[in-house]
Structure formats: C-alpha cells, structure tokens
C-alpha cells in the first residue's frame, strides 16, 4: 500500500511537470514571441550544457554557495545570541523587539548602498547584505522559540548543574530547536535571495552575476538556465538539509510528522 502511494505521487509529479514542459514547448514553438524574448526548452538545455562545460556555472555555484554559507552561519550565530537576549531581558524585549519586527519589512538589498560605503566594492559588502537578510528571521525565531520552549527544561537543566554556556548549548538550544527550525529555514531562504540580488549588482563571479551576464548578452536562454540553477539549489537545501533536520527532530521528540 505504501509503495502504491509513492507510485501515485510520483505519477502526479511526472504528469504535472510533463504538462508544464509541454506548455512551454508549445508556446515556444508557436513563435508568438521572438526567441530572444521567450527562450525554448532546447535553448535553455543548450545554455546549461555550455555553462557547465566551460565551468562558468560550476565556479558561479561554488562562489555563491561559499558566500551564502558564510553569511548564513554568521546570521545564525548572531541571531541566536540576539534572540536569546531579547527573549530573556524585558528591557531589550520592549525596546528592541519592536525595532526588529519593523526592520524585517526592509528588503535587505536596501542595505547595499551603505554596505558599499562601509566595506567597499567587495565580498564583505555582499556578506553584509546576506547577513542583514537572514539575521532578523533567525533572531525573531530564536526569541519566539525561547518563549515557547517549556520552562521545565531550563529548570531541569539548571537543577542538574548546567549554567552559562553549558546551559545554552546542552539545554536551551536543543530544547528550542523544534520551535526555531522553521525560522532557520526562512532565514536560509532570505539569505539565498539577498545573495543573488547583491550579486546581480556587482561583478562578483556568483550566480547572480552570471544571470546578469546573460541579460547583457541578450541571451535569455542563459538567464532562464541560471534561474533554474538558483531555484534548484534553494530547493535542494530546503528539501535535503531542512527537511532532514525536521524529520530527525520529529523522530527524537516523537512529534507527529507534519505532512
């Protein structure tokens, strides 16, 4: 019965994507728009092949992944510290809490002009934008998680002799994790988007720049090819890393799987 369900699900996927692909091919073949405005599937496939063959895409992916990993890691660490501070201090909560929420409505790319002035036209400016993109999500998630976390874990931990960093690392952090995993996921999505946006604004070797290169060359096939890469990486990280983390937590805590 189980395999039957999986087969059905797979069939649904195949049908959906086949239909989508068919529609795209059809629209391209009808030639309503010229090919430089509306690329064909074959054109995109060729662009992907060429891009991987001359290593442009491999390099771009590596550079972008490195940046997002560094930036995201920094936001996670900073966000957890900030969130914990805001959650455990009434003064901070009442003052900074509102500021954090209002700052979240600011697209992170708005920091770009300042970042350029502060860090210069280099990697650090991009990292700054990435951090600003995901920091708030992580901070707010951590604050919320710390409040939602049953108080008994903190009491039990302190009672058993955990304090300071040990209390945070061995008790508070693992106890919060199920409550912050969605915030971490959101933070990742924001980091990834901010990175691509920042890369598009500057000669940066990353995926964003490769995308802009396609525009400059009027090669819409290349643009769509890079868009597909960006989506694929985002989807894989979400589906593999975060889904895996969620499943792992559910197994440990005995929570019902959220389907």
């Amino acid at each position: 019965m189980k395999t039957n369900q999986i087969m059905k699900r797979a069939a649904r996927y195949v049908i959906f994507y086949a239909a989508l692909f068919g529609l795209w091919t059809l629209l391209a073949e009808l030639k309503i728009w010229p090919p430089y405005l509306f690329p064909t599937p074959w054109g995109v496939a060729e662009a992907l092949y060429a891009g991987f063959k001359d290593h442009t895409y491999w390099i771009a992916m590596r550079v972008s992944m490195e940046r997002v990993l560094i930036g995201y890691s920094i936001s996670v660490v900073l966000g957890m510290i900030l969130g914990l501070g805001v959650a455990s201090n009434k003064f901070l909560e009442q003052t900074m809490g509102g500021l954090l929420v209002s700052l979240q409505s600011l697209p992170s790319i708005c920091w770009w002009p300042l970042a350029l002035l502060w860090f210069g036209l280099n990697q650090n400016a991009i990292l700054f934008v990435v951090i600003m993109g995901s920091l708030l999500s992580v901070t707010l998630a951590m604050e919320d998680g710390r409040k939602q976390m049953p108080k008994i874990f903190g009491m039990a931990g302190r009672n058993l002799g955990a304090k300071g960093f040990k209390l945070f690392w061995y008790v508070l952090l693992p106890a919060c994790l199920p409550f912050i995993v969605s915030g971490l996921k959101q933070g990742w999505a924001f980091a990834w988007r901010s990175l691509i946006t920042a890369e598009m604004l500057y000669l940066s070797l990353g995926l964003g720049q490769v995308l802009m290169m396609g525009r400059d060359l009027n090669d819409m096939s290349a643009v769509v090819a890079v868009m597909i890469l960006i989506i694929a990486i985002g989807y894989i990280i979400d589906g593999v890393v975060f889904k895996g983390m969620e499943r792992h937590l559910q197994n440990k805590w005995g929570l019902a799987p959220a389907t």
Partner: protein, 318 residues
C-alpha cells in the same frame, strides 16, 4: 519524632499529632493520640539536612497585585528523613521545592542545607517534576548521564554509573530509547535515575506520581521506598494525595491555603513497608484529611469569590 516539631516556634505543641499503629489487642480500632513526649536532650547538636528559617515569598500576579504565597515557613528536615508536604492546590508547596532547589530565591528568610545557606541550584539537591522534565532530544542513557556530564565526570565513569542507575530502576534495556517511546511510569523512573545519578543528598519530588495510573503508582511507591532505604538520601515529597503522603513519609507537613503556612505536622510512626490500602494508613490519612479539607474549602471559597483564580506568575526563568 517530636524533636523536629520542637524547632518550630510558630507551631503550638498540641498541633503535633503523632500516629501510632493500633496495638494488636485494641479492638476499638481507634487511633490513640499519645500525649506529646519531650525527647531527652541530645548530647550533640544535630544540624538539620535542610533547614527553612522564616521563609516568605511574595509574587506579583498578572493583575499586578502582590500576593503572599509563603508565610514564615519554618521546617527542619533530618538527614535521611522522608518528609511529605501536603496542602490544597495554590498553597505554594511546589514553590517551596523550587526555593530549596535554589531555582528561585525567597523574598525573605533563609534556606540552609547542612547548615550552609543555599545560593542557587546545586546537584546536592535534585528535583523530580510531575511532568518529569526529561530531555526529549536525548536518549534515556544520555538523560541519566546529563548531570554527571555537567559536573565533568569522565566518560567511562559516566557510562558505568548510567548503567548502574538504570538497572536500579529496572530500565537497563531502554538505555538507547528516546523519552517519547516510554510509558509515563517508565519516564518517571528515568527521572529518578537521572536524579540519583548526580548522587544528591536531597531528592525534591514535586507530585512525581500525580499523573500516573493507580497500579503504576503503587509500583513506584515500592521502588521509591526501596531506593530511599538503599541510598539513605533525604526526600522532600510534595503531593496533594494525603494517603500517598502517609504511605511514604516519616512525617507529613500540612500547609495552609494562601498564604502557605505550616498548619500541622504529623509524624507517621507506622511500620514499613506500608501499603496504600493498609487500614492504619487510611486512618492516619483520615486525620490529616479533616484538616486538609478546611484548607481546600478555603481555597474553593477564594476561587468562587474571585470568579477566577488569580494566576500565579511562575517566577522561575532559566
């Protein structure tokens, strides 16, 4: 038995009602309350294991009112004693344990352990919570060794002790299981093993068996009594179940409803092992229940008068 009552200045001596098992020949079946016998003066001054001196605690409720939760509590617990604390809900009996555990400071008064003032949590006093407080992200074994890990005990010793204490609570086979895979009674046994693994002098038990079914609770009473006599630790056991208190305790302390004060102390002189359904246990419990009922009525009156029970803000924050 009466030595402990003697240290309580706020209590009238005649409020101490010792329980004695009915002599076999006594067909009347009535509990004979013996007159208070003053113990002979001791040669050595005995420092109580846990001493509470004039403990007061004030809370701020969510409406902003200040509420006196505990009022001048004086108690002395001897080393190796099994003390049960009963009282209506809202009398601050759980809070009392938090204070002794050092998770929360009292508003005034002093808590002494071995004559030294308590200044925070310490692994010489371990709590067992009603909701067990086990860490769901750790296996049973990792939960048990947690306190030792925090203390910096080496891995080999930790593993050995973890196995020892899991065997003690008959859960050796479940070392690798996660908490959600265990039943309520098993979880509470893990909590006991985890507490014992830090080798505390005092176990603070906050209605640990309140959420368990009757059979499981009976079983755990036997196990707890055995562990207590094996380890010789001091136990302060909070419950709202008077029969449970008499079944387990050397002494039962009844707290009043808000503010919590020591109303009466009842030494329990019944032979061990006891059983919940022993007639002597039931009779002793009956006497306590009479006084407890007054307090429960007061708590109910307060509840109805206020419409809604004032919610006591948990002051404990990790």
């Amino acid at each position: 038995m009466n030595a402990s009552a003697q240290h309580i200045p706020t209590e009238l001596p005649n409020s101490v009602q010792p329980f004695r098992p009915t002599p076999p020949g006594n067909s009347g079946g009535k509990v004979v309350a013996l007159p208070l016998e003053l113990p002979a003066p001791r040669a050595l001054p005995v420092i109580a294991k846990v001493g509470l001196r004039e403990i007061c605690l004030r809370y701020r409720t969510h409406t902003g009112d200040r509420l006196l939760a505990l009022d001048r509590i004086n108690l002395e617990v001897k080393a190796g004693e099994f003390l049960c604390v009963v009282g209506p809900s809202g009398c601050g009996k759980s809070t009392l344990l938090h204070l002794i555990a050092g998770l929360q400071p009292p508003t005034s008064g002093q808590i002494l352990v071995d004559g030294n003032p308590v200044e925070g949590p310490g692994t010489d006093r371990i709590m067992i919570f009603q909701e067990h407080g086990l860490f769901p992200w750790l296996t049973v074994g990792q939960n048990v060794e947690f306190g030792m890990k925090m203390k910096g005990v080496g891995r080999a010793e930790r593993e050995e002790k973890t196995r020892y204490y899991l065997r003690l609570v008959h859960l050796a086979k479940f070392e690798k299981s996660y908490i959600h895979q265990l039943s309520g009674g098993m979880r509470q046994r893990v909590a006991i093993a985890r507490a014992l693994a830090t080798e505390p002098d005092v176990l603070l038990m906050d209605e640990p068996f309140g959420a368990l079914d009757a059979q499981t609770r009976d079983l755990l009473h036997d196990e707890l009594e055995r562990i207590w006599s094996d380890t010789g630790c001091t136990i302060i056991f909070v419950t709202h179940n008077v029969r449970e208190a008499v079944r387990l305790g050397d002494r039962v302390v009844l707290l009043t409803f808000r503010p919590g004060r020591v109303k009466t102390e009842f030494p329990v002189d019944l032979p061990r092992p006891r059983h919940l359904e022993d007639p002597a246990v039931a009779r002793a419990a009956g006497q306590i229940l009479v006084q407890l009922r007054d307090e429960i009525n007061r708590s109910l009156e307060a509840e109805y008068a206020e419409g809604v029970k004032p919610r006591i803000e948990p002051g404990v924050e990790a």
